[in-house]
Symmetry: C2
Subunit: 259 residues, 2 copies
Amino acid sequence: MSEIQRPGALYQQVAAAIREAILSGEFEPDSLLPSEAQLMARYGVSRPTVRNAIAALRAEGLIDVRHGKGSFVRSSGQPVLTLERGVSRTRDGKFVMPSGDIWQEAEEPSTYRTRTTKATGRLLGLDVEEALFGCDRLLTDPSTGTRAMHRTLIPFEVAEAVPLLGQEPCKPSAALYWVLTQAGHKLTWTETVRARMPLPDERTTLRLPDATPILHVSRIAHGTDDRPLILEELRFGADRAELAYRITADRQPAQHPRS
Amino acid sequence: MSEIQRPGALYQQVAAAIREAILSGEFEPDSLLPSEAQLMARYGVSRPTVRNAIAALRAEGLIDVRHGKGSFVRSSGQPVLTLERGVSRTRDGKFVMPSGDIWQEAEEPSTYRTRTTKATGRLLGLDVEEALFGCDRLLTDPSTGTRAMHRTLIPFEVAEAVPLLGQEPCKPSAALYWVLTQAGHKLTWTETVRARMPLPDERTTLRLPDATPILHVSRIAHGTDDRPLILEELRFGADRAELAYRITADRQPAQHPRS
DNA sequence: TGACGTCACTTGTCCTTACGAGTGATGACT
DNA sequence: AGTCATCACTCGTAAGGACAAGTGACGTCA
């Protein structure tokens, strides 16, 4: 019925019309959109044009298409899982460490030895081709079904100085940080947050829907002597989880540790 | 030449072949890929199939296509701009505030009055339909050309108690936080980080390439009485900028009331 | 009643054809 | 030499047809 004329290509006009209908609430979340055939009739266009419009909306993350069933308005629900990335104490209250260890292991971790790449070397501030211990784990949060990929990288140099680290680089981060503190380090860490589209293998292992970016957190911990000790990387779909940083102004040092 | 057979659909096989060639470095970043016609000949498929494969690679953010020129391997460069979201002092060293005010105004800010939506209400912990001062600004970092959308929301209640706020809600955040501190508040804030695909208007105003997610930071500041004072939202393309949080373990309070 | 095959409906894949539109080089004309 | 039309190449858009594959309901048959 609604003849459209405005912006540019036909399929963009169709996409715009559907998008508007979705955003205005005419189509409720999780509801079924008209089928391709119906849209063809509705706008008087061919099937490729309709499919092109639908592809655009998929790329925007507005709809989900299920083979044999139809297109559904994606329930734009906010993330259900909030990862608190501040600090928290252990139960005995004696020790401060990075929080966020809600995860459970979904698969056997795989340990390996590797070398710094351009990206990891940049973060660690190391020369290229430095040797590292590595451990990759696939984590889940059972209560929400969220999945995440976790990687721990420890320079050989550090592992030699703190043997417990190299022996079990797959321990949850809290344990590793505890070991480091026991070894006399006062920890400071920096988290770098990036977002990007997933590679195909990340899409499958994280079970990501269409048009779902990945949040990629790199946490690098420095010790007392300002040397990088551990690099942790966490990757997860941005549809399910979000990050939270709690910052208290009057407690934070201005530039760097004073005491 | 290279006949392919493996996984599923033809176009996926073509996409996989090209993807592999890119990731293995056979095609250098910024280099020109074979044209659609060449790919048709190379893999013995029709143009829609080739275009479908190319569309998949675009959605992954692996390539950029320029009308009339061809497809180019996207230089997967890391973000060039790091937003330090910790705390920093003013020049006189007297006051601690959120850092990150490197931005310049790209357009006239627009002030308005609005009400809490479901999303903002949730963050502010307010009942729905509460009245707010709002200000939207378009910011740029001239040195890198990065653009960002910024929004400030201040509840009426707060603006009345601290009149300077409501009068000029468009001041950079540092100024607002300074005013609040002068009014006797000790500030604590929480930043929530999410990522999602941009809406069309965000794509255009932020000048985002294909398959580029948005990083969406919501900073909500609480005062001495634990009441929400200001909600700031910052949105920018994840291709250019990243976030950095510096955390020092032995200075941070142990725990905090969960919202 | 229960199991199963069929059918109608959906989206997925693939092909062919045609033309529009942006880009850059070539070459003719001034 | 400089200007500009033309042309060949690129990707973008749109239509048409055909068949495969997933889904669910309906009806038949044991």
